[in-house]
């Protein structure tokens, strides 16, 4: 591919769309970490499950793909609640390694259940906007990617309002600051944990639906986005939502630019090299505080 102004433009827009999906995933991970001090490595598997659920709903029930995302959001939020109550709640506050172990077990469970139900073939959600392109200044981009960007912006605004303006959001912020004090103030911390996890799962579900519309997916698709989302929030600093947004955009665009200028296979290696360098210099991320 020749490197010209339009191709760079195209790459940037692609990076933006991909970055938006990572941002949703990273925000979900981040809110769970912020409130519960828990890292769910199986977060990407929720994305994968949601992609499959949206596919099933839109194919078998004939629902519009974007409406199907809303339905799968609710289902995945319930799955999230189930996961939190049955597994993570029991290891919370024990050794940090236990959370990694439980997540690994969940990854095995989710991926293989998906494989049993939906098989090993790659699928893609049929979009009502498929085949439609938006043209400007000589480059074309599918409508789905543009819509994805707006859906992500809408989801993030709704999420921000929930955190900043509602009582539940206030309780979540209080819990994330000092859990015990929040408990003394009459906040039901366990309920807040449940809501937080459901919220994070719902964000992952939106990301999964969009991912399934833009890319084809199979049962193994969850692993890499989790790692990338995690790398993004570590770059931005654990618990910082702003850091996640900036990091997500940077990551998506850098990955696409690296693919354009160097070679597709270098994308993730370069990103991880950057992550390692950042962590060597600042062990708690760029914007991270030296808590914990």
């Amino acid at each position: 591919m020749d490197i010209t102004a339009p191709t760079i433009m195209l790459t940037l827009i692609w990076g933006l769309a991909i970055g938006c999906i990572y941002i949703l995933l990273a925000t979900g991970l981040n809110i769970i970490f912020g409130v519960m001090k828990l890292v769910n490595f199986a977060h990407g598997q929720l994305l994968m499950i949601s992609a499959y659920l949206s596919w099933t709903i839109s194919v078998s029930a004939g629902l519009n793909a974007y409406a199907a995302i809303l339905v799968s959001m609710v289902i995945v939020a319930f799955i999230g609640i189930l996961v939190e109550r049955l597994t993570f709640r029991r290891v919370l506050g024990t050794d940090k390694l236990n959370e990694i172990f439980v997540s690994l077990g969940l990854i095995y469970i989710f991926e293989n259940i998906a494989m049993l139900i939906w098989g090993t073939n790659s699928l893609q959600i049929p979009s009502p906007l498929s085949g439609l392109n938006l043209y400007f200044s000589g480059v074309s981009i599918t409508y789905d990617r543009v819509v994805a960007v707006f859906v992500v912006i809408a989801a993030l605004i709704a999420f921000g309002l929930l955190i900043k303006k509602t009582k539940i959001g206030l309780a979540m912020r209080a819990t994330s600051q000092i859990k015990n004090t929040a408990m003394l103030m009459g906040i039901n911390v366990e309920k807040i944990y449940m809501i937080t996890f459901a919220l994070g799962a719902a964000l992952a579900a939106v990301a999964g639906g969009l991912y399934g519309i833009i890319f084809s997916f199979n049962y193994q698709v969850g692993a890499m986005p989790t790692i990338i989302a995690f790398a993004i929030i570590i770059l931005g600093g654990l618990g910082s939502i702003k850091g996640a947004i900036v990091g997500g955009l940077l990551y998506g665009i850098t990955e696409q630019l690296a693919t354009l200028f160097i070679n597709g296979t270098w994308g993730s290696a370069v990103a991880f090299a950057l992550l390692i360098v950042v962590l060597i210099i600042r062990p708690h991320g760029i914007f991270g505080e030296k808590g914990e």
């Binding site: 690994l104 077990g105 049993l116």
Partner: protein, 375 residues
């Protein structure tokens, strides 16, 4: 005076040795080893030998991960060192045997004491290279904790995979290659693997029992407190990292020479998760845990892969899942996932603790019966 002290020391060591020789555990270990050597002679079944060899190799790998976890560092990228050891020992071994073949003018490597020695040396060199890289990576990792460390080690395995495919001219990472055979497959190779397994696990056990091991456990318990009582935590964490990566590299070399093939899929995340899963299932922080874990894992995988079992599963469950040709692997992995979660929640010390409880229960029963009977 000095002489006297030395004599007392010698006596202490002698006493320790005799008590070790007479202890129950030591007898059990010797007995178990004898069985492990003799059993393949009696049961001359290739499949049985294959499974035993695989269990031994994975025991080293899982034990190396467990060793690192014992110093409070959980790695998610141990496949990087498995692959480093595997690639470097395979490449070096192949080029050495090619060189010797050139000198001798033969095409086939003479099998004998020479090739066995080369094999052992090459495996150790592979471990040393892995440990050397491990030292450099460890320097970056000693300041990091929990998931930061997990992420960075994972990142290194991704980078290692990319490098092995980018420098394909040297590594043949994309298409893979077969290393020259130095020790014939079957019983001879099994004995080689077994001796490596016993030595590695014994060395790791002895280190864990030494003052160094005590420092590791102190760091695992509470790093700040360990620092406060004067332990150089960074130094000890680095030591643990280097030793662990050394043995992971040896396991990698053995694995490559056993499978007689290596490509960059050895760096896959699944390989990084494997030792972790084995250690957790078997019992974290114990010597026997990783061994039990690898026995458990390899057995489940191999039993479900048996043609008769696979056919049965397919005929009974295949109808429910039309999208799959083989339902065995996903079902076994779901089971393993559930087992991991259940073990972490209910029995964090793993199968070892469970077996111990069962053993205690049986002993209690028999004892109480024996006490009741005379009356």
């Amino acid at each position: 005076m000095e002489y006297l002290e030395r004599k007392v020391n010698d006596m202490e060591i002698k006493q320790k040795l005799t008590s070790l020789l007479h202890s129950r555990i030591f007898q059990i270990i010797i007995f178990g080893l004898a069985i492990l050597v003799i059993l393949p002679v009696i049961i001359t079944d290739n499949f049985f030998l294959y499974v035993l060899t695989l269990i031994c190799i994975f025991s080293i790998y899982a034990a190396s991960w467990n060793f690192l976890a014992n110093s409070g560092q959980g790695s998610l990228g141990h496949a990087a060192f498995l692959g480093l050891g595997g690639f470097s020992s395979a490449l070096i071994g192949t080029s050495i045997s090619n060189g010797i073949n050139g000198l001798l003018g033969t095409v086939i490597m003479p099998i004998g004491a020479l090739s066995v020695t080369i094999q052992i040396l090459v495996l150790i060199v592979g471990g040393l290279i892995s440990a050397g890289i491990g030292f450099l990576i460890g320097l970056a990792c000693v300041r990091l904790k929990a998931w930061y460390l997990a992420m960075v080690t994972f990142g290194f395995s991704v980078i290692a995979s990319t490098l092995s495919s980018q420098f394909d001219a040297i590594t043949n990472g994309i298409n893979g290659f077969a290393p020259t055979t130095l020790v014939p497959r079957g019983f001879p190779f099994y004995i080689l693997v077994l001796s490596f397994t016993v030595t590695s696990i014994a060395v790791m056990y002895l280190i864990m029992k030494s003052r160094t091991g005590l420092a590791f456990r102190a760091i695992h318990g509470n790093e700040e407190e360990a620092k406060m009582i004067g332990i150089n935590t960074a130094k000890y964490k680095l030591i643990a990292f280097v030793i662990s990566t050394f043995f992971a590299g040896i396991a990698g070399g053995l694995n490559v020479y056993f499978l007689r093939f290596v490509d960059n899929s050895i760096f896959a995340p699944a390989n990084s998760f494997l030792p972790l899963i084995m250690s957790v299932i078997g019992g974290l922080g114990t010597v026997i845990g990783p061994i039990i874990g690898s026995v458990f894992w390899v057995s489940i995988q191999q039993i479900l892969a048996l043609p008769s079992v696979a056919d049965y599963l397919h005929s009974s469950l295949g109808g429910f899942f039309p999208g799959l040709s083989n339902v065995g692997p996903p079902i076994s992995l779901i089971a393993i996932g559930i087992i991991i979660v259940v073990i972490v929640i209910f029995e964090p010390k793993g199968l070892v603790a469970l077996l111990q409880k069962v053993y205690n229960y049986i002993m209690l029963k028999t004892k109480s019966k024996a006490e009741i009977k005379p009356k």
